[in-house]
Amino acid sequence: AQSVAQPEDQVNVAEGNPLTVKCTYSVSGNPYLFWYVQYPNRGLQFLLKYITGDNLVKGSYGFEAEFNKSQTSFHLKKPSALVSDSALYFCAVRDDGGNNRLAFGKGNQVVVIP
């Protein structure tokens, strides 16, 4: 079954510094990969996705992610973090084969320090 690992519980970064949130995945077929962000008391919001094509994917709010097949990773990045980026970030994967279920990681709390 497909699965996602987000190894860090919390990522602390100073405002203006680069932000990276790590994600590795496991699927039997080809992956469809997604990043979502969750602000307090709100539902998840879509940031970006990788389906096929260019390994570097650009998304909302200046975020991007790079698909690395050999390392089975899909790390989320932002060149310059803002205080407003403080939130919970979820990586998710879906197999392109028979099982269409989206599997989420446990999430990473990002804290941007002013």
């Binding site: 469809y32 539902g43 998840l44 879509f46 389906i51 392109d96 269409n100 446990k106 999430g107």
Partner: protein, 116 residues
């Protein structure tokens, strides 16, 4: 465009009681999902509908949970009877028609259930 609507936002019940959650997806979205998000974990899919039909309910505890999507629009998730471990946020999401599995999901604000 209106988002996914859910109600109630908060619910507190005692164990062994029953509870129901309601979801209204984005207009035109054929696929509807119910997720359970326990504190400190990512969302876990409970059930997925494609129009009226169930696509995946393999992770739904069918002895106590049930869900329906009448007329392929609104959906209701019910728990009867509730257990302490059902305390969680219940998220509803919908996605537009398209190549299966490639479209992003749009989430509602969730219902926070506390079982005492």
């Amino acid at each position: 465009e209106a988002g996914v609507a859910q109600s109630p936002r908060y619910k507190i019940i005692e164990k062994r009681q029953s509870v129901a959650f309601w979801c209204n997806p984005i207009s035109g979205h054929a696929t509807l999902y119910w997720y359970q998000q326990i504190l400190g974990q990512g969302p876990k899919l409970l059930i997925q509908f494609q129009n009226n039909g169930v696509v995946d309910d393999s992770q739904l505890p069918k002895d106590r949970f049930s869900a329906e999507r009448l007329k392929g629009v609104d959906s209701t998730l019910k728990i009867q009877p509730a257990k302490l471990e059902d305390s969680a946020v219940y998220l509803c999401a919908s996605s537009p028609p398209g190549l299966a599995g490639t479209n992003e999901q749009f989430f509602g604000p969730g219902t926070r259930l506390t079982v005492l």
